[in-house]
Subunit: 337 residues, 2 copies
DNA sequence: ACCCCTCTTCAAAACGTTTTAATGCGTCGC
DNA sequence: GCGACGCATTAAAACGTTTTGAAGAGGGGT
């Protein structure tokens, strides 16, 4: 409990507190002999810099915020791993916020981040309200969007082309043949207020159109959440209305749930119904019927977003805002063979 | 960028900064009329309390640290979800640290947490070195162990009985019958320096002994990590030395990897080899052959640990340290039928 | 000898909040 | 009408660091 401060270190090393601060922050500015004396004192006394005091005086912290929609989803977990790795390499701490899809909780989390005076925020926004993020920017907190295109030009964003992904997925399903109408293709999705869900749907409709089918005929089953449980429920609803020939799910969690429900009902996959997921999480390959999916560079998403954010924070002058858009990649497995 | 401080609010409301602080921290102490005036000023000016200044002066922050071994493992993800929920309910921010099994990285992360003067730390230690944690305690940072028994009496810990889990798992495998010797049972594990791995092994050996077999005959395959990929590799090694009749894996990720490797090699599960995982992650039920596993109250682990930690922080006097030990539960699925 | 540099170090102010002890102002009991 | 008391508010100090401008020491060139 004996809080040892920079002053104690200074006294112990026979220098002024300012010099200790220099040793800590710009070691080059201080003579080798003194520096070593100070470093020894720091070690002997077990001094740990008080981050809050530093933040208060310096005007900025060494923490960033990460706000995701669902920490239980392996997609976000991998993003978080990328973020954590880069942040930790550069000596930043990561404050985690889980919005659980609720704009209210997201708002509260952003409030906490603002209080903590984080250096910047990485966020996969759960709604489409740029105003809140602009308010952060006005406070001098940089914002980088993750898995979401930029709201404005003077902002970094790292995203994946979801329309293209939806298009490729449904095109792949249609390529198996035998689809007389769009009605034979179902789209199981999370809340369509989530951008990713809406865009993948748009891509799906485009694929139908490209195949000469009515894009409006896509059967859409909107689940309340993007979890396996919600997927099971959606599949039950779907089966009640008559089986489609192919199902495209907005993510792998939904797809795993759908798969479980179908198999339990005695439906054969892919023979009776072909199935596509999205995200290519690790478990997609290990499921009962291995799952075809759209792969995204998830870990990289987190890494690059963090690198952009910290570059923006540390070199505000030379920093060039970037809008990065990756293309997803089709991974073909048993569920569509 | 216009930082509005408590002084600005005070001026705008025609009171002193001290009163504003009181409105923020003990609203009961201030007359209703003034309080409302101040609250209006706060709203109009968009004031956000400077967390660092507050921490500096008050001597403690409203953040806690969470240090886990592998954020990519759904087990820890669920723990993290429980932690985040409770912390967020009580207005605390969570700083996430991923040790990736490396004591060095864990050490660095703890350093960051110490600098941030977190109120407390939730940790699943990756090694067995209580000294580092004691050093935190000396600094006035409470520590609660998660999924790990207490190092000392005056400390909270929330754990699950891993010896019992290992025992139950292997007993279940043996109950299928046909085991002439312990050699027919393999244990695929992560690094045995990880306590969970070592204890589950002990439980496994105990089960062999209880069945009248030589506990030393358990075939142990130690993988470098507790991931599906590492599991695949371990399975390959295992097959090279002759197939066992039953495989017990230290977690579901390893088990999924083993399962994938076995199936690819044409081995039938459970007919040729029975397989048990551990953790009962969501995906265990959805795998190619649904996986028998040991279920742990994961989300609850996170919730309770956080509640204990925050109770210890907020009521240091009345707080009673607790050592909570849950019992895992066998979940039987296809892989052992 | 003198001046002018460079290289180190220092003293002191500032960051935004919390907290303590003190102040002012009514009100109550007598 | 007087002193005492309670309540609401305030002024000012303190938390531990960073930063700035200035001071001091030593050296080289004239």
């Amino acid at each position: 409990m004996a809080m040892v401060s920079i002053k104690d270190v200074a006294a112990h090393a026979g220098v002024s507190p300012g010099t200790v601060s220099n040793v800590l922050n710009r070691p080059a500015k201080v003579a080798t002999a003194t520096r070593e004396r100070v470093e020894a004192a720091i070690r002997e006394l077990g001094f740990v810099r008080h981050g809050s005091a530093s933040t208060l005086r310096a005007g900025h912290s060494r923490t960033i915020g990460l706000s995701v929609i669902d920490i239980g989803n392996p997609f976000f977990t991998e993003v978080a791993a990328g973020v954590e790795d880069v942040a930790s390499e550069l000596g930043y701490a990561v404050i985690l916020g889980n919005s659980a899809g609720s704009p209210g909780k997201e708002e509260r989390n952003l409030g906490v981040l603002a209080e903590q005076r984080v250096r910047g925020v990485l966020i996969t926004p759960s709604g489409e309200d740029p105003a809140r993020l602009d308010r952060l920017r006005e406070r001098g907190i940089s914002v980088v969007l993750v898995d979401h295109p930029a709201h404005r030009p003077d902002q970094c964003a790292v995203a994946v082309d979801d329309v293209a992904g939806g298009r490729a997925a449904v095109a792949h399903l249609l390529a198996r043949g035998g689809h007389a109408s769009g009605h034979s293709v179902a789209y199981v999705t999370g809340p369509l207020t989530i951008r990713q869900c809406a865009e993948r749907r748009r891509g799906a409709a485009e694929a139908l159109a490209a195949a000469g089918l009515d894009p409006g005929s896509l059967r859409v089953a909107e689940a309340a959440a993007m979890t396996a449980r919600a997927g099971e429920k959606a599949a039950a609803d779907l089966m009640a209305d008559g089986l489609p020939e192919a199902v495209f799910c907005a993510n792998d969690l939904l797809a795993l749930g759908v798969l479980r429900a179908l198999l339990r009902a005695g439906v054969r996959v892919p023979d009776d119904v072909a199935l596509m997921g999205y995200d290519d999480i690790d478990f997609a390959a290990a499921s009962a019927v291995s799952l075809s999916s759209m792969r995204q560079p998830t870990y990289q998403l987190g890494r690059i977003a963090t690198e952009l954010l910290l570059d923006e924070c540390d070199n505000p002058d030379e920093h060039a805002h970037q809008h990065i858009m990756f293309q997803p990649e089709l991974v073909e497995r048993e569920s569509t063979q």
